[in-house]
């Protein structure tokens, strides 16, 4: 099927442009640094009692959540900057002329690009995520309670952003699509924090900002899913015990995203991809 041909072309392009090597080196450096950091913390903590074991677990968990948050940021930016030039770049350079003159439906071309970028980003998320978790486990003996759903939510967050960037690139230049994608991501993150502060202060008007931003761009809501599944039981109990105040802190999640919200996220991706297809079909080449 043509979409898979285009997807394979996308992955091949990334390999030939040394994107894999770059990501591998960056990931190796990041994992090495965090491994060193965790080792330092491990060595600084007193060994022995059950209480100190629980404290160690809480410390490792919070550190891991922080590291994962930084990684999610890098993943989000990578998704935007890989997706933004994929279509816009080919349109601007003229490479798309010869391709789209072939018996290729524009929907197949765009979905193929989407699948290819998703494969790249998912591969990066899973590879780097597993590498980090394995290293943390080897060094500290700590493993988060639900790593698979956590990585799944990371992938979902990246999928939202790459879909947005791809949609923007059907009409805007590569650089403009990338900048707008990053800006919207940043605004959504700030919206989530503001909304959390609203919940903590019991201010419905402010908390609504977070609700609306999580609907308009679901990245912050999906990040809460990552955080939730990285929280061991003691940390979860602490987050839940803190009550509404915990909502203000972007690295805690007292509960996972609800099923209706996840359905909204899936629908959001389908809707934006659909808009991208409509936009691209009408695009003058």
């Amino acid at each position: 099927m043509t979409a898979f041909v285009v997807a394979w072309l996308t992955v091949r392009e990334a390999a030939r442009r040394r994107l894999f090597i770059a990501l591998l080196l960056i990931t190796a450096a990041a994992v090495t640094l965090t491994a060193w950091g965790f080792a330092q913390v491990r060595d600084a903590l007193p060994p022995g009692t059950l209480t100190s074991d629980v404290e160690r677990q809480l410390i490792y968990a919070q550190l891991l959540i922080l590291v994962t948050f930084m990684f999610s940021f890098v993943l989000a930016l990578s998704a935007v900057f890989i997706a933004a030039p994929i279509v816009a770049g080919e349109l601007e350079s003229g490479i798309a002329l010869a391709l789209l003159a072939r018996p290729v439906r524009r929907v197949e071309y765009l979905v193929g690009r989407w699948l290819g970028v998703a494969a790249l980003v998912f591969g990066y998320a899973v590879g780097a995520g597993v590498a980090e978790l394995v290293v943390v486990r080897l060094i500290t003996g700590y493993a988060p309670p639900s790593p698979v759903p956590a990585i799944g939510y990371l992938c979902a967050e990246a999928l939202v952003l790459l879909t947005l960037a791809l949609a923007l690139s059907t009409r805007l230049s590569a650089i403009t699509a990338g900048v707008i994608g990053v800006a919207i991501f940043g605004l959504a993150w700030i919206g989530g924090i503001v909304g959390g502060i609203g919940v903590a202060l019991d201010e419905p008007g402010i908390s609504r900002v977070g609700e609306i931003s999580r609907l308009l761009l679901p990245t912050d809501g999906l990040w809460r899913g990552v955080a939730y599944h990285l929280e061991p039981t003691p940390l979860l109990l602490a987050a839940q015990g803190a009550g509404p105040a915990a909502a203000a802190f972007p690295f805690f999640a007292a509960e996972p995203p609800s099923t209706p919200y996840l359905a909204w996220c899936a629908g959001w991706v389908v809707l934006v991809l659909g808009l991208a297809i409509v936009s691209f079909r009408r695009r003058e080449i």
Binding site: L9, G94, I95, A98, P103, R281
Partner: protein
């Protein structure tokens, strides 16, 4: 009567497919094709028909709408109104595109792939059987003159080699219609000479070549028929021989008075160019009579040069205003 027509903004879904007018489908047909970009009119009722199995020259000054017409025919751009068909199917139809090759004016291919890999991608997009890829890729690379560079990445190709690769891409799968948009713009004179037998061979096997070119000397050598586009409309369309059949005689003269000018006007259309008097449409058999009458009227005739009009001269005469 519609092919790709009013209201159809989706190049992948042309309006209801209909047979092109006139029964047996031409290779290319347009009727009243209009394309506007805002207030700019790129095509203003373009109507033309290109039979199968010929090399068709599509000429015009910059901004005449040539590339726009090609993009409409390939479904890359939707027209504002009017109809367009390729091989009897609405322009942009996937079946027609499967039998069409295209070398864009802006020829760019994936720099990170080798020449063979680029052709492999297009083999897959055309839907060629896997068993035919190797022979097809080899044949088109050889035909384009870059067989020895097929294993190199496109990033290392010169501009001329990229254009040759583009030609190979356009010829993959033995298409029935080949759109070539300025196919020799980056080639050296030897490369341009090599293009001529390729185009003739395509015609000889029954393919239709739609050649958009500024290289009028090249068009003169290979085209069977031409259309000259001016401001989005056809200013001339017909056999090349018909366009060039006009004779003219050039005279270098002094002592040209009113009587002599009147005599010149009786023999054809008169113009002055770089110190020469040109008389267009003058029957070569009457040139001696013309000279005799001019001399009798007191003019001094220093040189007489009978000529057949070149394509460039006819192009300039037909097109008003030159580049925009």
């Amino acid at each position: 009567m519609t092919g790709t027509s009013v209201g159809s903004k989706d190049p992948d879904r042309p309006s209801a497919p209909q047979a092109s007018p006139g029964g047996d489908p031409s290779a290319i047909e347009t009727r009243g094709l209009v394309k506007r970009y805002g207030r700019t009119v790129a095509l203003d009722g373009l109507t033309m028909s290109v039979p199968r199995g010929e090399v068709f020259g599509f000429l015009g000054p910059n901004g005449a709408g040539k590339t726009t017409a090609i993009k409409v025919l390939l479904g890359l751009t939707a027209p504002t109104s009017g109809g367009a068909w390729v091989l009897g199917r609405p322009a942009g139809d996937l079946v027609a595109r499967r039998r069409t090759g295209y070398l864009p004016e802006m020829f760019r291919y994936q720099a990170w792939l080798t020449g063979r890999e680029v052709l492999g991608v297009h083999c897959r997009l055309i839907g060629l059987p896997r068993s035919e890829w190797d022979s097809e890729i080899r044949a088109t690379l050889e035909g384009a003159g870059i067989a020895d560079r097929g294993g190199d990445r496109v990033a290392g190709y010169s501009k001329g080699m990229q254009q040759r690769l583009g030609l190979a891409v356009a010829l993959l799968g033995r298409p029935d219609v080949i759109f070539l948009d300025e196919p020799t713009s980056a080639l050296d004179p030897v490369g341009r000479l090599e293009m001529r037998p390729i185009l003739r061979a395509l015609r000889d096997r029954g393919a239709t070549v739609f050649l958009n070119s500024h290289m009028l000397s090249e068009v003169e050598q290979v085209c069977d028929r031409v259309a000259i586009l001016e401001r989005g409309r056809v200013a001339f369309m017909g056999p090349l021989a018909e366009l060039l059949e006009e004779r003219l005689v050039r005279l270098r003269m002094t002592g040209l008075g009113d009587t002599a000018r009147a005599i010149l006007g009786r023999f054809g259309r008169v113009a002055e160019e770089s110190g020469w008097i040109e008389v267009r449409g003058c029957d070569p058999a009457r040139i001696p009579d013309l000279v005799a009458e001019l001399v009798a009227a007191g003019a001094r005739v220093h040189a007489v040069e009978p000529r057949q009009t070149s394509l460039e001269e006819r192009f300039r005469a037909l097109v008003a205003g030159g580049d925009r």
